[in-house]
């Protein structure tokens, strides 16, 4: 069995949730694998020792050029270190999407993205499960890993695994040229909105089901009645009906409420990726097959345009 690597995202010495999810995914590929974590950056000792709590081996790749995870620089660093037939796991987030496909070409290895489950390995075939059409159907995807593979794992679907502690190996000295044609300049923080939804305990979150900008009013009324804040899914922001600061999801805010009311939200993983902390999720959607009902605690099959005014009224009466 080829060696399995997991690329660890971290910031300020804290590991991303994906760190131990990748470990879980690796165990599904090979239950007995000794997985190597790869930590890149500048001044990353804390992150490395954190990673070493669950990974048998941690590669520390410390370099000025890696102080921000620029995918092109990271790719160069990995290329000089990874073995030809290794299997590298990445989180399928905005960094993994940036790095994975190109890296697989440079490694001349197979690439599978947004993997939601792994059924195991048979010979040179890695059996994965993916989704298509925004989660409406699943597919079995087989991946020829004879020349290695880069596998992007959907964040949040694998149950974080515990692993045995291990050691940090400093690989910083083995890097080649890290010059890049893409240079990181800065991160511009999203404009702060009227509310900070990341601090809200209760969110009334609105999706496509609201249909029209004017209907947003009813969401705000419900939120007011509940003492909640209004958040939304991406299409609402794309339509410029609400400001970016209210968007929940991987491309929006990560929220940790106690109660999350998903109103007319289909529940794509990009959206649910922004809902953390295991809240009580209520889903109202007129499509009984909406994926949101898979992750919600309580579901109501209804048109939110009718449901919201009614529940608002009842709550007001309390």
């Amino acid at each position: 069995m080829a060696q399995i690597f997991a690329y660890i995202l971290h910031s300020d010495g804290v590991l991303d949730d994906s760190a131990r999810e990748l470990l879980a995914a690796a165990k599904k590929i090979d239950a007995g694998a000794e997985v190597t974590a790869i930590v890149t950056g500048k001044g990353i000792d804390d992150a490395c020792s954190k990673a070493a709590e669950s990974y048998k081996s941690v590669w520390k790749i410390d370099n000025d050029a890696l102080s921000y995870p620029n995918a092109e620089v990271v790719r160069k660093a990995l290329l000089s270190l990874l073995p030809a037939d290794g299997i590298l796991l990445l989180p399928h987030d905005t960094f993994g999407m940036d790095l994975g496909p190109g890296l697989s070409v440079k490694l001349d290895s197979a690439f599978a993205a947004d993997v939601v489950d792994i059924e195991g390995v048979e010979g040179n075939t890695l059996k994965t499960i993916r989704q298509e059409f925004t989660g409406q159907v699943n597919t079995h995807v087989h991946c020829d890993i004879s020349a290695g593979a880069v596998i992007n794992i959907r964040p949040g679907v694998f149950q974080a695994a515990e692993g045995q502690a291990g050691e940090v190996v400093d690989k910083s000295g083995e890097l080649g040229d890290l010059s890049a044609k893409r240079k990181f300049i800065e991160v511009q923080e999203a404009e702060a909105g009227e509310v900070d939804i990341t601090k809200s305990d209760v969110l009334v979150s609105i999706g496509r089901g609201i249909e029209d900008e004017d209907n947003l009013e009813m969401a705000f009324e419900l939120a007011e009645a509940m003492g909640a804040d209004v958040s939304c899914s991406r299409p609402i922001v794309d339509a410029k009906w609400l400001e970016k600061a209210r968007q929940v999801g991987t491309s929006g805010k990560t929220v940790k409420p106690k109660v999350y009311m998903a109103m007319g939200i289909s529940g794509s993983f990009q959206h649910m990726g922004g809902v953390k902390g295991n809240p009580f999720i209520v889903a109202v959607n007129k499509n009984p097959k909406a994926p949101i009902f898979q992750v919600a605690d309580v579901g109501v099959e209804a048109d939110i345009l009718e449901f919201i005014p009614e529940i608002t009224e009842k709550i007001k009466e309390l």
Binding site: D212, E213, D214, E217, A239, D303, P309
Partner: protein, 693 residues
Amino acid sequence: MEHALISPAAYTIFGIPTVIFSVLIPIVAVALFAYIIAKRLAPLVKARPDERFDRPGKRVFDVLKIWLAQWRHPRYMTAGVIHIVIFFGFLILSIRSTEMVIKGISEGFVFPGLNTWLGDVYYALKDYAATAVFIAVVVAFVRRVWFKPARYAYPESYGEDHTWEALLVLGFIAILMVTESLYEGAAVAAQLQAGLTPDFLAPLTLGWLFKLMLADSARATMQSLHIWSYYIHDIIFFTFLCFLPLGKHFHVITSIFNVYFMRLDKGNIRPVRYGVDEQALDDLESFGVKRFEDFTWKDILDFYTCADCGRCSDNCPANTVGRPLSPRFISLKGRDYAFEHYPIFGDFIKTDDNIMGKIYSEDEIWSCTTCGACEQECPIGIEYINKIVDMRRGMIEEGNVPQSLQKPLQSLEKRGNPYGKMEKKRAEWSKELSEEFEIKVLEKKGTTADTLYFVDSVTSYDERMQSVAQATARILQSAGIDFGMLGKNEKDSGNEVRRFGEEMLYQELKNNNIEAIVNSGAKRIVTADPHAYNVIKNDYNSPDLPPVEHISQFLQNNISNGKIQLNSLDEEGRQKVFTYHDPCYLGRHNDIYDAPRAVIDAIAGANRIEMTRSRDRSFCCGGGGLMLFYEPEEDERMGVRRVKMAREAGATVIVTACPFCLTNIEDGIKVAGLEGQMEVIDLCELVAQQMRH
């Protein structure tokens, strides 16, 4: 008759005969006026063609009714009466004014016929006319300055209002009336003083008043007043004439033409280009209005003719709820553009600039629901819908379409309905009825029925509106009609698609539907959707199609011939107060006002009242079709406003006869928080409820 004063034709001042002025002033003024008019005609010549020369009889009738008889003016009583007085005063005084101009040259001139008894009548009449006009002008002045009716106000974004212009013109008219009367009053006073037989002056008129006032004045004073008032009148008269084409008073000249050329047919949209038939549309370089000169000459005549009276905007639902559209500014901004780019002095400014985003804004043009209230109200036949549709055609071609409309338009192209739902599900609403009866689906050749029920997209797919389809089918079944529907062969009727400017998509939908209807072999079309009714009747305009009827007409006929019998309302129903909301595409665009009312009144025990804004002044619910997918910024929804109007009238049930009105008003009730207090029901649903089986 002998005169005591020297007439302007014979007078000399400092040895100069004033007749010189009498000759020169008209010559210079008429030449200037002709020059100005020629310049004003330039943009009309450059504009696109329009077809407005057909059916002269009908056009003359419109001129007699709308222009001469001032038919629409009393809809605003105060302003209307003032205008009628000034209008008829002008008509009467036009003869006198012309006579005066000639009298300045030839003292004894009288129009043939006016030296008979006719003259006696006329001169008395014109004395009263001048006095009435003077009084009307004073009232108008007071109204403008002190009462300031809200509809004349200019929102900040549109710049300065036209009050100064209105007041200046009122001043001109007042001076004309005073000088004409003074000119004559002085002459008569002098005659009396000289012991001559005085010319007749009608009692209690301005001239009569001046005669009394001047009775004891010196002869020289009378003489100079006589001459000065004549020349002031002469100068103001011609100044006024040349001033008319410079502003909103151009309507004094253009309105008769504008009314003659006004639209004769209701409900339709003009072709992309007159003289280019549908098959040749692909060869056209450009669609719709992008440059100013893409308007037709009638459009520009409309711009010239706008009197800024504000009646269109006062009735415009978009303007009422605070959308960025006010129809009068469509005209005024167009006129200002024409004046600026086709100046009276200096070169024309040639530009290929797209007017969209410059004089008109996108939101402004998308704000219109094409309800037709503006055109219904305009006292001088100015049109808006065709211009707005043509500007939308231009925007569609440029790809300049609000994001929220793109999806439904694309779905219409691919699936024939704005939701993008599957064609095979078009008739799914009928499944619920399958236990009661089977509806024929006229998809295959060979299956036919007498009557085709044209359902249209929203009634087919929208869950709430499907109940209108079911009610309609029950009605047709119960009346013993052999009917069917087109099933997946039916596509959206395209009424809104055409009005949103997507002409080629409309053409495709139309051609598909015509073919499907013809293949169905039906001898009559019935629909419960006024939008479908309108487009099939007024836009499809195909000789191959059987006649189309709206369900309200069908109901009226079948109730009166006894095929449909209605139960009387129960006790609860008798407590309700019904009001009928006229859908724009049934009422204003097709003049069907009475049939639906008759149907409601046929239900025993139904207590029906009228809203203030009803019939041709009905207030749009917010619009149908694609308007469901696009709402510009507004302060309040039209549907909410409409619900409040019904409530003010004391109604508890709003009956309508259009699926869009039903949804918009239903939403309106919810948003207004009047659930439980107000309800809305479609005419078909009401009848189906009360029908005796």
